[in-house]
Amino acid sequence: MTRPAVLALLLLPLVAHAGNLRYAEDQAPALLNPVYGSSMAEARASELLFEGLYTDDQELATRPSLAESSELMPDRLSMIVALRTDVTWHDGQPFTADDVVFTITAMLDKGTASTEYGRVAWIKSAEALDAHRVRLTFARPELHPEDKLFFKIVPKHLFSGLPLKRGDTFRTKPVGTGPWRLTQFNEDNSVSFRKHGDHRNSTGIDEVTLREVADKNYQAKLILYESLEALVRVLPRDIAMLQNNRKVELYPYQTNSWWYVGYNLNRPGLNNPQVRKAISALVDVDALLAPVGTGARVSGPFVPSSPYYNHDVRLTEADADVADAAFVAGGLSRVGEAWTVAGKPVVLTLVAHQSLESVQEVTINLQSQLQTAGIRLEVQFLDDAAWKERVWRNHDFDLMLSQWTFDRNEDIREQFHSQGTRNFVGYQSPEVDGLLDKARDAADPFVRKATLRELHAKIATDQPMLFLWTLDSYAALSVKVKNVVIHPFSFFTFAPSWTMK
């Protein structure tokens, strides 16, 4: 970003006044329909706008939100949820049981292609008993179904019917029941929210403004110049500067987030475990991580502090001899400096989302490491639309660099089950499917813990991905913001109780 551009950002006519909390995102969400959530920026904005039947309290225990109460039937195959009667949508319409039934039915509808399908797949049907009571019927007996009813509810009256479409106008004109309502998408890509006056709970902040600051290098400066009140994630290199500033408070918070290089297992060559093993053995992960920030390497699909992390699984290490042997075992030959297949040099395409933090440093470093070892890597940075098209829908890549962030349940089913909706790499393992099922069905926490540790080991062996690292996460908030409790996933869940001087 050029200096005038920074000045322009600082001078934006977004007047700071008491009760206006401005926070930065690398990229403003283009779509605010929670049925199609895919990015963390969307999740955070959705938390301002929408509510689920249940939510977390500050100790992360389940508490009713749009639900008033519920009754689980003795056979545990159905429940009746009584809804609050004092809830209105941001457009003034009353919230009713029809909205709940509509949301669930829409997410279950295959034609909707909801990214959140997995969160309702356990519900067989939803039926409105009256204006404020819903009967949910389950596919299997449920012990505590309210623990799964956190997905956001959308208003039936703003959709023309089923299935829903990603392009519905609702995506940019969202109407929820949450504590803030959207007022407008601004020309500078910022998004403005204002307190939902009819919300049942008071909020300490009148306005929230999401400011798109694509260059993360300037986000910390903006909070120092009091042009922002909150940074969702502080770049590691900015931590020292903010730590020593008396106008800003740093809040370390826990995120179950890890980076990876995914191998497209539907591509010839990459479906060979020896080839994947060889590529992984060419990568010096510590060297990739060093310029990115402080964090910890991971050997599998959990972060090291997770209950499911298997500490017996070793981290991959760069080892040219291992790589050479694995390439040969995988049918590759070295010709001169390059590894070849059928006489042609291996050329791989790596895609990465352009807004991924430090993406250029990581990809250039990776490209260099592979190039030195005889593998040519072509890197493509994709904008959000292209990423959704290439990765989410068409699985069109050889390698992908990305990260996953999980809530505290660290449910990796969608990423690794053969039927998972987020299994972009095309991983198919009956053994892993079985372990995921066993973990899901376990009634004993000790058994679930051990099963998922076994799963970690199995996935690490199969290497559908090269697991990289988890980064330390810090939020920064102006000292003007008080009563701050940060939700480790959704960030703003407890923001209604935040106050501003």
Partner: protein, 340 residues
Amino acid sequence: MAEIVKNPETFTAYVQSSRAGWIALHSNDWRGAVAAGGDPAIRAEAELLRFHRVLAALDTEAWQRLGATWRAQGSLPADSLLAWFVGAALSDAGRDTEAAEWPTGAAADAAVAERKVLHDAIRNGTARLTDLPAGEPLVREVVVGGTRDLPDPWRLRTHARVDALNTVALPLNPHLFSGDIGLPLTLPERATDGVADGDACRDAVRSVDLELDAWRQTASAAANDDGRALLDDLRLTQGARARLLVDRAAAVLDTGRAHCALALGQLALDHEAPRAIGAINSPTLFAVVASAQLQVGRPREALDALDVLAADWPETAGVDETLNTLVVLQGMDRRGESRE
């Protein structure tokens, strides 16, 4: 500290007597300091005692929450020693009223009874800490689909008792340079609301930081080059600040002010190296943060803090597993969410 900065030769002369020990103590390597002997060893023993006391309290709380959560869910297994372990942990901590809610009496398992005898012997000095088997679990129960591994519920308190036996004379302040900054951290009265209590404690630290900034400038200006180098290279001010905050955090934790303890702990953390023990980050800091996180209802976050201790402090493996199980238990019926 002011004197040291003005006359760095005083510092050199003082630490020369046990240079290796002072270096270890400065980097919060307490076992290294104990091994080196001398004055640093005495101070390090005091640090170890406090560290293990915090961990022992954390372990007890983890057992209590695991048992209570499982019981509240209505699925606490009747065929497990787990309930007995909860009672044993609470009883060992002197939380007798709560312990009475759990099975008590002689351990049904011979290995468990034998372990308890060994702990008693170590605590009264007739056996050594090294006699205690290092690994976990103490009990492995076979259940449908796997095993239930229960860690030793007495281990950390035994460490604390041994530390107490070794701590021959408690120094007024275990740290050489912390006493003379002259910036008392006066914490506010406890606020009714926990989060507000945390905010008030943050504000108190902020006031101290402003004074500390000024003190540091003055001290630096009055120091010669060697003194300034000491102040900067050894991060004396930051270290003293962190120790002050951790001291106070451990103290308020004992009075149930978990939000305040958490705020102090987070403010003490060296954010440039948040996963490493060093001159600023002590093991007790992570133990305090883990304990505070659990008390404010965030056991998953407590695991993050404990993770830092795992490599160098193997005795934390048991409390780590108990918290792991608690976290898993709390999410048994949840459906997870993930985003890019």
